[in-house]
Symmetry: C2
Subunit: 254 residues, 2 copies
DNA sequence: TAGTGGTCTAGACCACTGC
DNA sequence: CAGTGGTCTAGACCACTAA
């Protein structure tokens, strides 16, 4: 039994001790912490207090408690990954911007097409595309991995009147290839806009991204416009906000 | 006493009821919720359970509990504010970009110079400016308000070798005026880079921004470079992440 | 089945606020 | 001082997981 002293709340002291232990590497990602009854015995506290400490660590993103199994240590990256946007950086090759970015960071990119077809878009998308909510769009939803770890959910939406047919999205070559096919149809994207918001992760998102439900995620909405200013594509990306740094660079117009 | 039914945890049901009530406007921003003993009586629960419901609402950013005073309802903006960055948008007038942005949204901007002088910079700044940690910089820390509500903390850092003297930052006219004086000294900023991270708010930040400790904040680090690629200014902005949408637009290089 | 985490109570004491 | 929220216990029961 260790010594926990007021005035600081003892469940916070336990949380701090475990947090430091995880940070030090005493508990490695994927392993489980001692059980709550064991920790209660060790620190001379009630299970309720330990449970509270665990809830704290979970809210901070250090662990994920799994009912009936234990408290699993999550992998907490010391260095954030970088997502880079600048004018000189895009579509230089046939690869997707995503693969390029990760390659620069020395990581391997993999993309999985999750879903694909013609649908009614969510409100945020119909607004971005300036179409009626009932107007169908071509959807392409993908899961993205870096070194086989899940990192991003991406959903691309194109109005059917722009896409022409569902085939334009196949094969799934990423934005560059698809933008080329859009250009052939007279809808070459020339201007881009990204809206960045932060919100709590949904259950679906937290499951895929391997974070705790409610942890903050970036929701990045990229809209592509053709020379006439018409939106031709909207793409909704979701990333774990605590694990990424987004970078934008631009030159001053003089 | 109301009816709360398993299987859902009853403290979660109470949290949901109060959340809906706040959303509906039954409790207005600035007012306090009923006391925990009162709510316990009303819902037929123990104070501990109510306390847990309150902790949940606080973590979600709906209320702020104040020890000995009560649980204060925070103002939850329905529409997020927008912070816009594009090449065509900046330094068109003598005003600061911040004032321009807010004026477009129909809001009144106010800036308060909090602190000003010559200091050793934090690590993140010395890295951005590519100087030794011990090299002094000119600091200009400001608090920014929109319609007299606190919205942003901004700290600008300029290497002393670039600034020349501390006077360059005065009078406090915002970036545009200051960039002009830098240009006179041969350090005209022409390229900009912004790094966006999300982290939990510190106590100081949560106090000023009127959010709960630990709620996510944007930390935006803008670095300005002169034509030779030398960093001439680094500016660290902190905003409540759940209340803002950041927007970036750019044109495709062809 | 045994072991895990999740919830809840009844009661207690504390620290802080404002009158 | 009374009223507020914060913490903690001892004990209980539940739901879930894995052997």
């Amino acid at each position: 039994m260790s010594t926990l002293e007021p005035p600081r709340a003892r469940y916070k002291q336990v949380a701090a001790l475990l947090r430091d232990a995880i940070r030090r590497g005493d508990y490695t990602p994927g392993s489980t912490l001692p059980s709550q009854p064991d920790l209660a015995k060790k620190y001379g506290l009630n299970q309720s207090s330990i449970s509270r400490a665990m809830a704290t660590l979970q809210a901070e993103g250090w662990i994920r408690t799994e009912h009936g199994r234990g408290s699993v240590v999550l992998d907490v990256p010391m260095v954030k990954r970088v997502r880079k946007i600048d004018r000189h950086h895009r579509s230089s090759r046939g690869e997707s911007a995503y693969a390029e970015e990760l390659a620069e960071a020395g990581m391997t990119a993999r993309t999985e097409l999750v879903h694909w077809g013609e649908e009614d878009p969510p409100d945020i998308i119909s607004e971005a595309l300036r179409i009626a909510p009932s107007e169908a769009v071509l959807v392409r939803k993908r899961h993205m991995f870096a070194d086989d770890k899940p990192v991003q959910i991406a959903a691309s939406y194109i109005p059917m009147c722009v896409a022409g047919s569902v085939d334009i999205a196949m094969p799934d070559t990423g934005p560059s290839g698809m933008y080329g096919r859009l250009a052939e149809r007279g809808f070459a994207p020339v201007r881009f806009s990204e809206d960045i918001e932060v919100r709590g992760a949904t259950s679906e998102e937290s499951e895929f991204l391997n974070i705790v439900h409610g942890q903050p995620v970036f929701q990045v909405l990229r809209t592509a416009f053709d020379p006439e200013g018409r939106p031709v594509e909207a793409c909704l990306n979701v990333l774990a906000a605590l694990r990424w740094r987004l970078t934008y660079t631009w030159e001053q117009e003089r």
